[in-house]
Structure formats: structure tokens, C-alpha cells
Amino acid sequence: MRTFSYVSAPDVETALRAVAGEPNAKFLGGGTNLVDLMRENIERPDVVVDISRLPLTEVEELPGGGVRIGALVRNSALAAHPLIRTRYPVLSQAILCGASAQLRNMATVGGNLLQRTRCLYFYDGASACNKREPGSGCAAIGGFTRNHGVLGVSEHCIATHPSDLCVALAALDAEVEVESTRGTRRLPLSEFHRLPGSTPHVETALAPDELITAVELPAPVTERSRYRKVRDRASYAFALVSVAAALDVGDGTVTAVRLALGGVAPKPWRAVEAERVLLGAPATEEAFRTAAEAELAAATGQDGNTFKIELARRTIVATLRDLLSDGSAA
């Protein structure tokens, strides 16, 4: 068996010291992705630092109506939390659309941000993959691309980020707090994940010695939000397309909107272009369609995933339409 050293960290400081100067160290949270990847020989860390006992498990209300979520809050606990369910229904729904109850009981918020792609060729050691082996090529291009991206992809990598939770976080203007022995810093979620460009193996802005300690959400622009996930079976499948949306309407006009897409890009995709088009526009199906088309104008597909462009357009429109009727029914 392959050996690695294992450190169980009682506090953040120990955890940070354990990885300082260890370029091939990994933090172990819920283990729902890392352990799989180790079994598949894709991740082969020299040091595994178990952070599951760190006291980062609180969901706290912030002054001003926001919320601070400890990096080790379990997915199921977060989805069930009253603050999240009432203020950020999109987040609760997104979590419950992901994985299975058993996995959600284990998986952590910090780990969810660091989930790796489910590209079939990334998982297959016999296939070329620039993410797994920089410079080896991309076997997905010209292969099975059903779960691949149509936005933000490059000729070196077309893999998608598989998270549901992160799509909701992207729509909610989340900030990520990270810590290392060098100190603490915060960055917006939108800058946390990187697009592949020519370096698809660099997936985030996180340095090797940095630990995610919390995710913070500002007060929601509206509590009228929802998550819609479209997939190949009713449960336990990654999104073909997902939409996280929040919508506020006054006098038939969009007064606030947040929109993010999953399953279509290498990162949780904040639909800034669609939001720009929608803000101040009439809250009509036609405007929703125009906004969706604006967002997807730059999308490019492969043989196996071009349908996602049309699917994303339809799902954006349907989700906004549902939010609109939620409001009128309320």
C-alpha cells in the first residue's frame, strides 16, 4: 500500500503548520471526494492533514443580515439550518439536489469548493488529461462530452466544476476566508475558481498552504430565490445544467436579480451579462429569454454537449418564470 503521513489537527494552527513547506499535502474534511480520488490514484498526497475536528462548524448570523458559515459545516446541517432555509432558499435547495443523504452528512462546505471535475477522462488514468498530467493533451475533446462545459472552456480543457452548492454561493455573492501561517485573507467566490486557459491543473486561487476557514454571505438581495437542477435521472447525478436565481420585482420591473449557472463551465458561472440585461427590464418571459441569450452568446459546444446551450437558455427562463409566479402567488 502507498504510505502517507497522517496528522489529526486539533486546531487551525496545527493544521496550518502541518502543511507549511509540504507542497504535496492535502486537508481531509469529509473525505467524500479526496478519498475517492486517492483510491483512483489521481490524488497521491504525501501528507494528509485531518481537519475534521477543527472548530469551524458554526453557522452564525452577521450584523447587517449576512451569515458566516464555518468551513467544516456539513452539507446536510447547512441545508437544514433555519437561517439558510429562510434567507437563502436557493442555497438549501442546491445542497439538497447534490449527492446523496449519506454523502451530504459527511461533505463539508470548504471541501465542496475544492471538488474536482467529474470529467470521464480526468478520472481515467489511461487517458490524456491536461488537468491530471499537464501537457498530456485533452482526450475529452472529440470524446464523450455530455458533462463538459460550453462557457469559459479552453482548447486545453473543457471540464466542468461539479458542485451544486457553489452555484448557489456564486449567485449569493459569497466571500471565502482563507488562512495560512502567513495570515488571513478574503476573496470573492467569483475569484476563487480559475478558468482553465493553458493551465487547467491550476483550479483555484488557493495557495498549497492555505486552508479555507469560512464562507460568508452578505444579506440576500431578496429571499425569493431558487435552484433548478436538470440532470439525467431524478437523483444522484451531476447537473447537465443548473440555475441558481434570486429575483425581485417592483411594478413589473426587475429591481434585483442574481443568476448563476452550474454544469456548463469550469467554475460556478455567475451570469453577469444576463443580470445586466435584466436589471430594470420588464419582468417578462421575453426579457428572461433575451437575458439568457445574452449570457450564452459566447457559448461553444462539442458534439456531445451543444444541447446544453439551448437547455441552459430554457432552464434560465423557466427558473425566473417560476420565481415570478412564486412572488405573485405569495
Binding site: D124, G142, A234, L240, F307, T315
Partner: protein, 729 residues
């Protein structure tokens, strides 16, 4: 004059008797092939080829061998010699046993992507798997043919044999088609599938000199036993195969695949008991699955719906290293009374692992074309089927042993509420959901093979039935206990059934929905013999145990069939002549009507099955609980076939890219609606107790019913399985 023993107990046949192994399974007491502890047990792991055709130029095991705990790394350089598999011989069906024709680790040639090229044996499973990942293999690659779609035009006519006819025709179907006033013509495609039994294939093997004991998750202990004796060149009498519990097979454990052979080889080479539990990926790479298919269906009819022409042709694949052509056109010979019929099957051979049987090979897919014709004619699809319901087997005029499809349709339509359906596509809605209702015919031929049994009655009233059949979840032992109990007039609790051990009397494999009927026939004969003997011992009015007590006999045993070489051969000849006679005389089959309701999201094309009713003619049902469970399980598998299941074979490389349950989408609970299963429960007069197997008929027609329901919901005919949402956008 024969005396009749009194019936002191309520008959148990037909009742929902709890399965006899239920407690063992739910408490974990049931032991599966990878759970047998042996002192000194070693663990094996496979290394797979990553090219589809080529030759190994170098294989470096240095790093692997250096992992602490590794006992040996077997490659073609150091593996013990294997005898080659035998050619097919109808007098010895075990010649069909081998999954492929390859002599594993006895050759440097690679025939498919996934072929095992090395086996690591180690003290622990983790050491074995870690070392397997470190074996470095270099290849020279050869040109290979792996793209089914591209090779389709090169398909050649399939040759028929005793068990499978190739092409068939009646009249001139193409000419009749050209003249028909109403015609439809459609092309269907279906993808490759894998079985995905909950228990991955596993083997534990131990040698003692030339004697071999093997625990294997197999559907066929007898085939496995003779095959291992052949490949390892040892006397068959010294080989014992045990498989008392098998965690599902669906055809994937009927043949013998490399994992089993290599475990036995590893045990031979190391002198240790060895266990190999395949990973899910190993199963995909080393066990065949269902072939993909391309099918053309053309129907010609008069305006009143009378079919004048039925053309059904297909292309399927086999591996260059083996596999039987799948009879995807088979139902077209039996379902509709067309005046002219043409059925043709073509096959391509590819450099992929052999295809193999998977639940209802040939019959599983069903055809949706009759529904298309019904719309063309403006007729109800059930009405059109009933108008063309044959009196005799359409292709050759044989009598049906028992055909109650009309009754099944009547029962199903009533329970489902078919009359509430408005036929216009897109005419039914539930909120935003488009609602559709579909129907299709289920059909699966009934077979019966040879089984030897012994039945023993003891003076304490207990009965022991011994037969080397297989239990992979169907409830076989429970059914045979019920049958023997009723035949002897004893309570079902007093009957114990021994099975799943090659030292027991010979039984056919679990496959083809024929095991229960085959074993039942012999159990009934044995019980009849036993009753005759008892009648000579006792007095009228005695119960069986009292009859023994009165005669001062501790137990009485009778047997049916003989396991000796001569006995087997005579049995085989007797079986074959009966098979041929029966095939000439009757068309025996299970059939039924599948009704389903689907909801399609008009925005996203997501399809959810919301309701299901199936009504079957499966002769007499032995166990109301396990039979319905089998039929329901088949329907669940049919839902997967219709909507989500597909093995992704990369056409550039021949490599399976979704070898796992994360990306091969079987239905999850949320995909499965409540399934109402009804059956007519009328005995088939030509079968033992009137029973017909229920293992496969449940899947047949299920996918077609869903495709028809989707058309009804959306107006779209999707002829490529699986019907994923992108096809409906």
C-alpha cells in the same frame, strides 16, 4: 391402484411465502464468494490492458513487487499454463462456458481494452491494489476495429444454430410492404449496457494437490466446474464449486470471465488460498455486456389495420474473441399475425470484449413500431394489436402452448385506466407537465432444461430436496420448497432445500428464465416416486412421516437423473430430443402488457415515469411475493434502458469510459414509480405445474412502452435509446 396420501396442509404454491434465505440475508449471515475466510488467504488485483489490440513489448513489475506484502506478480512471463477453451458442442453445453477465447496471461497478445495482462497477489487487498497500479506495461499497437456505428455497413448475416435461429421469413415481406396502402418505416438504435449486479464478481479459490475448491459468484456452478477442470487440466471429480448466495447476475455471471480463471491460477501459482473481488471498474473491463443494436422496422397494413408485411432487420456486435449474436429481432417472429414476415440479423465482430447475455437477450427491447402504425391508421394501439393477435405462431404456424395476451391486455387496461387516455399527442397535462400514456407487449420464450434431484423424507417429517441449482436472489429455493411441500402434502416449513454446490445433483444454470420450471419438473417426478414408495409402506390415511414410522424406516430417498458421465450424456441426449420435439410442436412463452404513464417537462425535456401497471401471463405463479418482485425488478431495469442506461465505449479507442455507478445511470429510487404487477395465474398445460419462468419477461417491452408514452406526451418519436432529455429539446 395407487393410494392417495391425505392432504393435511393447505397448499403453499401461489402463496406469498417469505423467502427461506431472507433472515440470513438481512442479518448478514449469508456468506458471499468474497466472504469465505481461509487461513493464509491472499488477495489478488488485476492489471488491465489500455489498448484495444496489440502486443505487450515489456512489462515492468519491479516497483509493484517491491510493495511490502506482495507475494507475486503474474504476467505472461511466469503464469502457469492454461488449456485453451473448447469449441461449442451441442451435446455438452458447458462448452459455451468461456466468456472469451483468450488464454489469459498465456499470451502477449491484447485483444480488447481491459483484458487482464497481470495479476498481483499480496497479503492484503490494499497492497495488491496499490501494486497493481504500479505495474508498467508497454505495447506495440495494431490497427483495431472498435467503432460499432462505423462498422455497421460491414455487418454479415448471422449464422443460426440449434439454440438460435438466424434469419426467418414467411412470404415476400418487401414486396407486400411496397404494395401496402399504409406503411411505416423506422430505424432504431440501442446502446451497449452492463448488468451492474449489486455483488461485483468475486472468487475465492483453494487448491489441495489437484483438488480445487472454488467459491464464486456464478450463475452456473456446473459449467464453472467442468470449465475449470478443463483449463487447469485436472480431473473434474476433484473440483468443487460453491455458490449458495449470488448477489444478482442478470446474465453477467452465466459465462466464466477472466477474474475467476485468474484467481484459480493465482492460487495454483502461490500455493495459497486466493480471493479476488472485482472492483466495479474491473467488472466493466473484464465482463461482457449487452450488445448495441441498429434495427430497421417496416410495417405494411390494410386500412383496417390488418398487417400485410413485417420487416425487422438488425445489426448487433460480438467480440472477435467471442460472444453470441443477440436475437434482437426475435419477437417479430411471434407477436403479430402479419401475412408476410422477414426477419434478418447481421453481425459485426469488433476488437472489444465479447458481448454476453443480459436480462432477456433479444427480447428485452421490444418494438415501438406498432404504436407508430396505430397513429398512422388513427387506431388505438391495443385495438391494432388485438386485430393482429395470432392464433398460431406467425412465422411457422406452430401452436402456442398457452397464449393469453388478449386477457393480459384486458386486465392491464382495466387496472391502468387506459380508457381515460385521450389519444391525441400532447393532449394530457398536469400543470406544466406533459402527460403521456404508453403501452407495449411483453414476451419471452419459455425453456426447460435437464435437472437432477434427490428428495429425502425422514421419519421426523422433514424433507430434504437436493439440487445444484443457483440462487441469485430470485427465490428459487423457496419456490422448490413450496413445490415439494405440496407434492408430498407436508407443511412448507418442514422442507429444506440444498442448492448452490457442485457436489449436489446436476442442475442447469440460472439463466433464460428456465431454472424454476426445469428443477420443478424433476422435483415433481421425485416426489411422485416417493409417494408411490410410501404408499406401499403405509396405510390409507397415514401422513408421510407416519408411513415411515409404521414401516420402521428412518428415511426414504429417491433420485431423478444421474450425475455419472454416462448419466449426464443420456440426460443431455434425452433433453435435446425433447427440446427439438417441443420446439417443433409448441411455441411456449410468457407474455404480458406493459402500461405506463410519463411526465415530460416541456422546458427541459426531463422525463419521469409516474405510474406503471403490468399484466402478465406467466402460467401458474409459485410464489406471489418473489414472482411479483422479479417482474417488478425487470420493469425497473426497463426504465433504465428507456431513459438513462448506456455503456460509453469510446469509438476512438474501444475503451469503456463510464465504468462505475456514478456515470452509468441505473434508475435510482426517485426514478421508479409505484409498479402495479398483475398476473392471470392460469397454468400453461405444457409446463410442470403450469409454471413459466418470470425472470426476464418483466423487462421486455418496458422501454417500448415508455417510448410510446413519451410520444403521446410530446408528439415526438425518439428511436434512439436511452431517451435522454437532449433528444426532446
Amino acid at each position: 391402484m395407487t393410494q392417495t396420501l391425505p392432504r393435511t396442509h393447505e397448499p403453499s404454491v401461489g402463496k406469498p411465502v417469505d423467502r427461506v434465505d431472507g433472515t440470513a440475508k438481512t442479518t448478514g449471515a449469508a456468506r458471499f464468494a468474497a466472504e469465505y475466510p481461509y487461513p493464509g488467504l491472499a488477495h489478488a488485483a488485476l492489471v488491465h490492458a489500455t489498448v484495444s489490440r496489440g502486443r505487450i513489448t515489456a512489462i515492468d513489475t519491479t516497483e509493484a513487487a517491491a510493495i511490502p506484502g506482495v507475494i507475486t506478480v503474474l504476467t505472461h512471463h511466469n503464469a502457469p499454463a492454461l488449456k485453451p477453451p473448447r469449441r461449442f458442442n451441442p451435446l455438452d453445453l458447458s462448452t459455451m462456458a468461456s466468456g472469451t477465447s483468450v488464454s489469459y496471461l498465456n499470451t502477449d497478445e491484447v485483444h480488447w481494452d481491459g483484458q487482464p495482462v497481470a495479476v498481483v497477489v499480496a497479503e492484503t487487498l490494499t497492497a495488491a491494489r496499490e501494486a497493481a497500479a504500479l505495474v508498467e506495461v508497454s505495447y506495440t499497437t495494431f490497427a483495431s476495429t472498435v467503432d460499432f456505428k462505423a462498422e455497421e455497413p460491414n455487418a454479415e448475416p448471422q449464422k443460426g444454430n440449434l439454440l438460435m435461429s438466424g434469419s426467418a421469413k414467411k412470404g415476400d415481406a418487401e414486396a407486400a410492404l411496397a404494395k401496402a396502402p399504409v406503411r411505416i418505416e423506422a430505424r432504431f438504435t440501442t446502446p451497449p449496457h452492463h448488468h451492474n449486479a449489486i455483488e461485483p464478481h468475486a472468487t475465492t479459490a483453494m487448491w489441495d494437490g489437484d483438488r480445487l475448491t472454488v467459491h464464486d459468484g456464478t450463475q452456473s456452478i456446473d459449467w464453472l466446474r467442468s470449465h475449470l477442470a478443463l483449463r487447469f487440466d485436472v480431473p473434474v471429480e476433484g473440483v468443487r464449486v460453491l455458490a449458495p448466495f449470488v448477489g444478482g447476475g442478470f446474465g453477467g455471471k452465466a459465462n466464466i470471465w477472466p477474474g475467476t480463471i485468474l484467481t484459480v491460477m493465482a492460487a495454483r501459482a502461490t500455493g495459497r488460498p486466493v480471493r479476488l473481488l472485482l472492483t466495479r471498474e474491473d467488472v466493466y473491463r473484464t465482463v461482457g455486456g449487452r450488445t448495441p443494436s441498429t434495427q430497421r422496422v417496416a410495417l405494411g397494413a390494410r386500412t383496417d389495420g390488418t398487417l400485410t408485411a413485417l420487416v425487422h432487420t438488425s445489426v448487433t456486435r460480438t467480440g472477435r474473441v467471442g460472444g453470441n449474436p443477440e436475437q434482437v429481432t426475435s419477437q417479430s417472429k411471434h407477436l403479430y399475425d402479419a401475412e408476410n414476415i422477414l426477419v434478418r440479423q447481421n453481425v459485426v465482430e469488433l476488437d472489444l470484449i465479447s458481448n454476453t447475455a443480459m436480462r432477456a437477450p433479444g427480447d428485452s427491447i421490444g418494438t415501438a413500431s406498432i404504436d407508430e402504425l396505430a397513429y398512422e391508421l388513427g387506431m388505438d394501439p391495443i385495438e391494432l394489436r388485438m386485430r393482429n393477435e395470432p392464433e398460431r405462431n406467425p412465422i411457422d404456424g406452430r401452436r402456442f402452448a398457452n397464449r393469453k395476451l388478449r386477457e393480459a391486455y384486458r386486465l392491464g387496461a382495466e387496472r391502468f385506466g387506459w380508457a381515460d387516455r385521450t389519444p391525441e399527442p400532447g393532449s394530457m397535462r398536469d400543470g406544466r407537465w406533459l402527460v403521456g400514456m404508453g403501452v407495449a407487449t411483453a414476451f419471452h420464450p419459455a425453456w426447460q432444461f435437464l435437472a437432477n434431484v434427490t428428495v429425502r423424507l425422514s421419519v421426523d417429517g422433514s424433507v430434504l430436496v437436493r439440487c445444484g441449482f443457483q440462487e441469485m436472489g430470485m427465490g428459487g429455493a423457496t419456490a422448490q420448497a413450496q413445490i415439494a411441500a405440496d407434492a408430498l402434502g407436508v407443511p412448507v416449513e418442514s422442507v429444506r432445500v440444498e442448492y448452490g454446490d457442485s457436489s449436489l445433483p446436476l442442475s442447469p444454470a440460472a439463466g433464460g428464465s428456465m431454472q424454476t420450471a426445469s428443477v420443478a419438473s424433476s422435483v415433481l417426478t421425485a416426489c411422485e416416486k416417493l409417494r408411490r414408495k410410501l404408499a406401499r409402506l403405509g396405510r390409507p390415511g397415514d401422513d408421510p412421516a407416519a408411513a415411515l414410522a409404521r414401516a420402521g424406516v428412518p428415511s426414504l430417498e429417491v433420485s431423478v437423473g444421474s450425475d455419472t458421465r454416462i448419466g449426464r450424456l443420456t440426460g443431455q441426449v434425452r433433453f435435446l430430443s425433447k427440446l427439438i420435439r417441443d420446439q417443433r410442436r409448441w411455441m411456449k412463452a410468457a407474455s404480458g402488457a406493459q402500461f405506463c404513464e410519463v411526465r415530460v417537462d416541456p422546458d427541459t425535456g426531463e422525463t419521469r415515469v409516474s405510474r406503471w401497471t403490468a399484466a402478465f401471463d406467466v402460467g401458474r405463479v409459485i410464489n406471489a411475493k418473489t414472482a411479483v418482485s422479479q417482474l417488478r425488478g425487470g420493469i425497473v431495469m426497463g426504465i433504465g434502458m428507456a431513459l438513462s442506461e448506456e455503456t460509453l465505449v469510446d469509438p476512438r479507442t474501444g475503451r469503456i469510459m463510464n465504468p462505475g455507478l456514478g456515470e452509468y445511470h441505473v434508475p435510482v429510487h426517485a426514478d421508479v414509480p409505484p409498479i402495479d404487477v398483475a398476473y392471470l395465474d392460469e397454468p400453461d398445460p405444457t409446463m410442470p405445474l403450469g409454471l413459466i419462468g418470470v425472470g426476464e419477461v418483466g423487462i421486455t417491452g418496458a422501454a417500448a412502452a415508455i417510448a410510446n408514452a413519451i410520444h403521446h406526451a410530446t408528439g415526438r418519436r425518439i428511436r434512439e435509446l436511452p431517451i435522454t432529455l437532449d433528444k426532446l429539446l
